[in-house]
């Protein structure tokens, strides 16, 4: 039977992030937490194939207890089993340490109940690194297809999957052996409306919580701050650029504003480029 796993992350809705104008600090209060949008689409794809192949979907999320709401949301969207991987000792993990913990969890699930496909979003919108998916694939020694935009076929007998991946240059149609890891673009699947039974189930769903105390063991040298080769050395606000010169077309007229613009362009040596005469 088809078994897919989806790694999901809860993220602050970065489109809503504000900076305190006085302190320059990030304002976290009131910023809604959402399921990372790419993960939501990846989950939708996993659920779509679960229905086609009559299988199961397990979701895994690593983070604090507040991530339970996101796991419930995944159940609502059609996941069967949710696991929260949570321990204070995991805190401060960079992408290397995160990929270690996730890989150990996925390995344990795979040993219990073999996986065919593992889904990640192409990146999380709060960090934008796109590093954890490839890291997990390397640790599990599984083939990876990044930037997946469509799954054409899953053949469980031949143990292969055919995926379209979109790069900057073209779209590649790639066949790769199962089990495989995919990192997904939003195009991979539309997020469906939750069927009522899933919705009801999600309300009361209590995910399993995996910690340092079990059910699996983690190498303490590989987790959290200790297992993270990178550290944040400094934080600062971006340097303020030199403000340019403004002219009001309303007050001084459009002609004057344009004359000013072309004069400035000439001074900057880009006038020829501007009038489409660049060599």
């Amino acid at each position: 039977m088809f078994h897919a796993l989806v790694a999901i992350k809860q993220v602050p809705d970065t489109t809503n992030i504000r900076i305190d104008p006085v302190t320059g600090n990030l304002v976290r209060e009131g910023v809604p937490a959402i399921m990372n949008p790419y993960d939501a689409h990846a989950l939708a794809a996993a659920v779509e194939w679960k229905r086609k192949l009559n299988g199961r979907v397990t979701v895994v999320s690593m983070g604090p207890n507040s991530f339970i709401t996101t796991i419930r949301e995944a159940i609502e969207l059609g996941a069967d089993r949710g696991i929260l991987v949570s321990d204070r000792k995991f805190a401060g993990a960079d992408t290397l340490a995160t990929s270690y913990v996730l890989a150990e969890v996925i390995r344990a699930i795979h040993e219990q109940d073999p996986l065919d496909l593992i889904f990640f979003g192409k990146q999380a919108i709060d960090g934008d690194t796109a590093q954890v998916g490839p890291g997990v694939a390397v640790r599990l020694d599984m083939p990876i297809v990044t930037y997946a935009v469509a799954i054409r076929a899953v053949d469980l007998d031949d143990a292969t999957v055919v995926v379209e991946r979109k790069t900057e240059r073209w779209t590649e149609v790639v066949e790769t052996p199962l089990p495989a890891l995919l990192t997904c673009e939003k195009d991979i699947a539309e997020i469906p409306f939750a069927p009522l039974p899933d919705l009801i189930r999600s309300l009361r769903y209590e995910p399993e919580v995996w910690t340092m105390d079990g059910p699996i063991t983690f190498d303490t040298e590989m987790i959290g701050v200790r297992g993270s080769p990178t550290i944040v050395y400094q934080m600062g606000t971006p340097p303020l650029p030199e403000p340019g010169e403004k002219i009001s077309a309303r007050e001084e007229g459009i002609e004057a504003a344009l004359a000013f613009t072309f004069k400035k362009a000439q001074e900057a040596g880009v006038l020829q480029t501007m009038i489409g005469g660049a060599q």
Partner: protein, 347 residues
């Protein structure tokens, strides 16, 4: 004496080099020069080296020397003809284990991002994504200068400087156009060292069945000299017709801010900003774009920026060389007319 190696991944597909490879050779040279004094005092050698994988791509290795590589490690094998994750990361893992580079830079392209996370994990080292500033600097407690890798976090609202203290190489990915390309020196001399790949076709674990080339909307905004971008101030998708008209008059391409892409007014390929493309054209026109930080980090390195906005307090004016306060639907048609008139006057 030890050799301190500053490495750059030379990205190519079907023999076409991605220009980010040259941009990174330029950065690596600057980083190498920042440790020159310290290395000389210790009797160490400092070198900039390229890493090139592919099939029949030796000509690219020679070009890399002209762009500043002292040495290029060339892995030429039919298995490497098309980029695939497994053979590429395994090949690079082998050479990196052999030569132990101190710093390793990779372009933050779709290919580079696919590769960088895999290499960093296989080497068990740290990787900082999408750096906008790189510097070799003193860090308390470190015996040598370390790579200070600065990247925007939280939508560009904060700049975080990341260091990788003990693990090597110190890896960073950098987007195209964040740094300028160095000049090509045809007289430059360097060495090409051939390495062999220990992965078979079977071991590639992926078979590319087909390449589909997009028919529509294959705009390449990253390397255009002129970009005219529209924002929410356009009021709707139809506004991009006017943006296109100005872009055409200027011989440029159409860009967009993120809200327009999110709203479906224009495709993602046009998006400028932290979650889109980083650009540094000679001329950048921002029309109806308020100037959210995440947009500014993607375009503030442009040579000349013209902002057109109704709101005199729009943050876009902070990065603009010229800010025109006014209605873009009045200003742009007048600008198109003016450009055409000047063009005719020249002809």
């Amino acid at each position: 004496m030890t050799t301190r190696r500053f490495w750059v991944f030379l990205e190519q597909e079907l023999g076409h080099v991605h220009p980010v490879s040259w941009e990174l050779l330029g950065v690596a040279r600057v980083l190498a020069s920042q440790v020159a004094e310290e290395a000389a005092a210790a009797g160490d050698e400092v070198v900039v080296e390229g890493v090139l994988l592919g099939h029949q791509v030796r000509a690219i290795a020679e070009m890399a020397i002209g762009y500043g590589a002292d040495r290029v490690y060339l892995m030429d094998d039919p298995v490497l003809e098309h980029y695939r994750n497994c053979p590429f990361y395994m090949g690079i893992e082998a050479i990196a284990t052999k030569y132990e580079p101190e710093v390793f830079l990779i372009g933050a392209t779709t290919l580079g991002r696919d590769l960088a996370g895999a290499i960093a994990t296989s080497l068990g080292t740290g990787l900082t994504a999408d750096c906008t500033k790189l510097e070799m600097g003193d860090v308390k407690g470190a015996s040598q200068k370390l790579l200070l890798a600065t990247r925007p976090a939280f939508g560009g609202n904060i700049m975080a400087t990341i260091v990788c203290r003990r693990h090597r190489p110190q890896m960073s990915s950098v987007r195209p156009r964040v740094f300028p390309a160095p000049a090509y020196d045809p007289e430059a001399r360097g060495e090409i060292v051939e390495e062999s790949l220990d992965v078979t076709e079977e071991g590639a674990r992926a078979c590319i069945l087909e390449f589909i080339h997009a028919k529509e909307d294959t705009v390449d905004i990253e390397y255009s000299d002129v970009i005219v971008s529209g924002g929410r101030g356009l009021g709707g998708p139809d506004g991009f017709a006017l943006i296109k008209e100005l872009a055409d008059a200027m011989g440029g391409v159409v860009g967009s801010s993120r809200p327009c892409v999110d709203a479906g007014w224009i495709s993602y390929a046009h998006q400028v900003g932290q979650s889109g493309k980083t650009v540094r054209p000679k001329v950048y026109v921002a029309a109806g774009i308020s100037g959210a930080l995440q947009h500014k980090v993607g375009m503030q390195n442009s040579d000349f920026i013209i902002a057109i906005n109704n709101d005199p307090n729009a943050p876009i004016f902070e990065v603009a060389d010229v800010g025109i306060i006014g209605d873009l639907y009045e200003v742009i048609p007048a600008m198109i007319k003016e450009i055409k008139a000047r063009k005719e006057a020249q002809a």
